[in-house]
């Protein structure tokens, strides 16, 4: 019975040994010479990429469409040839020394996505990009975008306050509102929806997520400062016909998700995605008299349509509607309690959101590199909320229009995109008696030029000028450079400017759950910042298994920032324009390696130095740790029948907004150091899959998460000083059912 195991092992050993020999024996100048041409016109394609299948060894074609690959780099006798605007092709080159590859144009503009299990850091994009694939998404608890980042080192997920339990993302040590969130490359969930936006996209809606660190393209507007997160939603044409996901956890929170797709006609396909989650169980494990997590019910519907007409017209439509109600606060709090001395402290909120988008592209017949794109989107977002005795209501109406033309100058080594945009943003907020309102109308023009020397250098230079009705002309230049020293050693530089109008109350809702009074010292100006950074990527192969080492450094310098000052006065949060310096320095080093077949290890170290001038004094931003470690172990049996994943994170000491007015041990100057541990095991069958997992397995909880919890209407009450987990260990289980 056991005999087959050693035999298999010997076989594996022999194979590994043979592979080692092939690597070690110096290549006897064996080369593959090739040429890439357009299938219909036979014209050479310049800057197309040719890569040995299953490796990262590749080159780009030169001005005559030719390329040369070293046979010694091959692990299989196949090459993958791809080019923007063309269908990628895999070509068998066994026994050949020359090859001509003819590519056919595709119908839609799509960025080249290199498929591969381990290559999560793209070798091709000019920006420092990472991909969270669908396979990665299934590794963490389902159903909410926040959880999707748990197995990724570049994006941090934090809890906003101790009452709502809402999660936010951080990049480069900066708040999530400085990261541009897009869905299918259309800006989404901006403005007033920012604090709770991660809840509004279910994990089951998502095909993959691209994370771009630092400055990206100018095409999506001027808002991004620390980076961009692009969520690719499922494609009606390619996704499963039926996908059902059910989830439940030990706090008695339940999630149900259903996707149904259909090819309605040869040209039309559609996808309907439904999500509901519900928590009705009051939990207070830290015994502070407050619910650890707000109760809530959330229903979300997303309907997407795709239209395809030959190779020229492609159009996508999407409509999304959601409704969410939440209730948090003291364990005995009931909805709508009258104001009085016997009143319990509670928070309530009701949110409604309706949004739509359309993307249409036209590719010129016979010119796959030339296309026109139109993008329109609209949002209506409305909420009413109550924090103790404070009412906070808001409404946002947004319309966004963009037009992009893409073509080449002479040949495909020089491509450019030009376009125009119009943004309409209408905000109304009311906090107790104060009313804040503004209407932004921003027409803009933009251009981006991409140079590709077809060997090892890509330069993307872009700029946009916007004519803001409230803040005048805004000029936004951005630059990305990528240089491949060797195909496996890549340097990138990103620099540029970002601009955004802050929504101080909604970006600091956490402080509404405190006794702090919101004070505005002056008329607030828009935020402006420069971001400069670079990264170094080294791909390697050790013992026949791939690995990558990535390190990056980013410096963000604010010219103006809306400072949310909790330092100066313990009873206030005051907002004013930056006077002095404010910056973020972030360093990250990450190592990924497949230690054994099917066993992946990712480790990362991160250093943050984030400082802002508060009331004339330069101080560390509260609740951001200087040092962090991240380790992720992933194990999968062949064909992913069994998968296991374990992620641990270490958080160093964080400075807290120490306030003189408070008293007692709860008012500490800095946080504890602590670890978190998450894990999941899943088993796949033909049509379905079951998973069991746990979050915060070490059961670490922030002590005294709510200051002054015993007297919530008193002056010392503050639930916004959250730097660690509030809920303890959570165990969950679920299942997925798919019909292809």
């Amino acid at each position: 019975m056991y005999t087959s195991i050693p035999v298999r092992l010997i076989g594996k050993f022999a194979a590994t040994f043979a592979l080692l020999i092939t690597i070690l024996i110096p290549a006897t100048a064996q080369q593959l010479n090739g040429k890439v041409v357009d299938r219909t016109t036979n014209t050479p394609l310049i800057g197309a990429s040719a890569v040995w299948k299953g490796t990262t060894k590749g080159v780009s074609t030169d001005a005559s469409g030719s390329f040369t690959l070293q046979s010694a780099d091959a692990t299989t006798p196949h090459i993958v040839v791809s080019y923007l605007g063309y269908k990628p092709d895999t070509v068998d080159v066994s026994g050949k020394t020359t090859v001509t590859v003819a590519l056919s144009p595709t119908s839609s503009i799509q960025e080249v996505v290199v498929e591969g299990q381990q290559t999560r850091y793209s070798a091709l994009t000019p920006t420092n990009s990472q991909v969270i694939t669908n396979r990665d998404l299934e590794k963490s608890a389902c159903c909410n975008l926040a959880e999707s980042f748990e197995t990724n080192a570049s994006v941090e997920v934090t809890t906003t306050d101790a009452v709502s339990g809402a999660k936010q993302i951080q990049m480069l040590g900066l708040d999530g509102s400085y990261t541009l969130l897009t869905t299918d490359n259309v800006p989404a969930l901006r403005g007033l929806s920012t604090p709770y936006r991660l809840n509004y996209l279910s994990g089951t809606y998502i095909e993959s997520i691209d994370i771009i660190k630092g400055m990206g393209s100018v095409l999506n507007g001027y808002e991004s400062i620390s980076g961009q997160v692009n969520v690719k939603l499922r494609d009606p044409e390619k996704t499963e016909r039926l996908y059902l996901n059910l989830y439940g956890n030990s706090l008695a929170k339940f999630d149900a998700n259903l996707n149904v797709s259909a090819q309605v006609s040869p040209k039309w396909s559609t996808l309907l995605m439904l999500h509901s989650d519900h928590l009705g169980n009051r939990v207070d494990r830290n015994k502070d008299g407050f619910m650890d997590l707000a109760l809530g019910t959330h229903h979300n519907v997303y309907n997407k349509w795709k239209y395809k007409h030959g190779d020229t017209w492609v159009s996508e439509f999407g409509v999304n509607a959601l409704r969410e109600t939440k209730l948090g606060g003291q364990m005995d709090y009931e909805k709508g309690e009258p104001v009085g001395p016997e009143q319990h402290y509670g928070t309530e909120s009701e949110t409604e959101r309706l949004s739509f988008y359309n993307k249409t592209s036209y590719t010129f017949p016979g010119r796959p590199y030339q296309s026109l794109g139109f993008i329109t989107s609209g949002v209506h977002h409305k909420f009413n909320s109550l924090y103790g005795r404070r009412n906070y209501n808001g409404e946002q109406n947004t319309g966004d229009l963009r037009f992009i033309f893409q073509s080449i100058i002479g040949h495909t080594g020089h491509t450019y995109k030009v376009g125009a945009s119009f943004l309409y943003d209408d905000y109304t907020e009311r906090l107790e008696q104060n009313r804040l309102a503004r209407t932004e109308r921003v027409p803009g023009i933009f251009a981006e030029y991409i140079f590709n020397n077809s060997e090892n250098l890509t330069i993307v230079a872009g700029a946009r000028t916007d004519f803001h009705n409230l803040y005048g002309t805004v000029f936004t230049p951005r630059l990305n450079v990528k240089y491949d020293l060797t195909p496996n050693t890549i340097f990138r530089v990103a620099a540029g400017k970002g601009f955004r109008v802050a929504n101080p109350i909604s970006e600091n809702t956490a402080s509404l759950v405190s006794a702090r009074e919101f004070t505005f010292r002056e008329e607030l100006e828009p935020e402006k910042a420069w971001n400069l950074g670079g990264s170094f990527t080294q791909y390697f192969e050790l013992g026949g298994r791939p690995g990558a080492f990535i390190t990056d450094y980013y410096y963000t310098m604010f010219q103006n920032q809306v400072v949310a000052d909790m330092y100066s006065n313990a009873h206030q949060i005051s907002f004013y324009n930056l006077q002095g310096r404010s910056f973020s320095r972030s360093f990250q080093a990450e190592l990924q390696y497949e230690v054994l077949k099917g066993f992946d290890v990712k480790t990362a170290y991160k250093y943050f130095d984030v400082q802002t001038t508060y009331n004339g004094e330069l101080q560390q931003r509260p609740m951001i740790p200087q040092h962090r470690f991240f380790v992720n172990l992933g194990f999968a049996t062949p064909f992913d029948k069994w998968r296991a994943d374990l992620t641990t994170q270490y958080f160093g000491k964080m400075p807290l907004a120490y306030a003189e007015g408070h008293s007692g041990a709860a008012n500490a100057r800095s946080s504890d150091r602590f670890y978190t541990l998450n894990g999941q095991v899943s088993r796949a069958f033909k049509r379905w899959e079951v998973y069991v997992g746990g979050e915060n397995l070490l059961n670490y909880r922030q002590p005294d998460a709510i200051l002054g919890a015993s007297d919530p209407f008193g002056p010392a009450f503050d639930a916004s000083m959250v730097w660690g987990p509030i809920t303890g260990r959570v165990i969950y289980a679920g299942m997925r059912f798919k019909i292809e």
Binding site: M1, Y2, I5, T76, T90, E237, K641, W642, A684, L697
Partner: protein
């Protein structure tokens, strides 16, 4: 931590049990001519086979397009396996691929792409 350790041990035992497969006399090997044209097809076909009830192992030779499948004849049969190949988007001997599955294949896996 104790409970974690126990979980680890339980998992280990589980995996060991899985890798020890009972041998029996019902094993049968067949060859099917498919319409698979590239390495990507190989991956998706072999994966589909791995999830098919009763299938022990499978290999696709891309050059000859021959899929070799070893299965337990008590649990499945040749027709069921061919059906599974069709549902993945490929022809199996004389049986054509399920149209919907074929349409969802990646461009490089389609028959028109030709052998490459």
């Amino acid at each position: 931590m104790k409970s974690l350790q126990n979980l680890g041990v339980a998992l280990l035992v589980f995996f060991t049990t899985l890798s020890v497969q009972a041998q029996n006399g019902n094993e049968k090997t067949i060859q099917i001519k498919t319409s698979a044209v590239c390495d990507m097809c190989k991956k998706s076909l072999e994966k589909a086979m791995a999830y098919e009830k009763g299938v022990k192992s499978s290999t696709l030779d891309v050059d000859s397009k021959m899929l070799t499948v070893t299965f337990d004849s008590k649990k499945t049969n040749e027709d069921k396996i061919k059906k599974a190949v069709n549902d993945t988007g490929y022809d199996a001997d004389d049986k054509p691929a399920t149209p919907r599955a074929y349409n969802k294949l990646d461009d490089c896996c389609r028959k028109e792409a030709g052998a490459h």
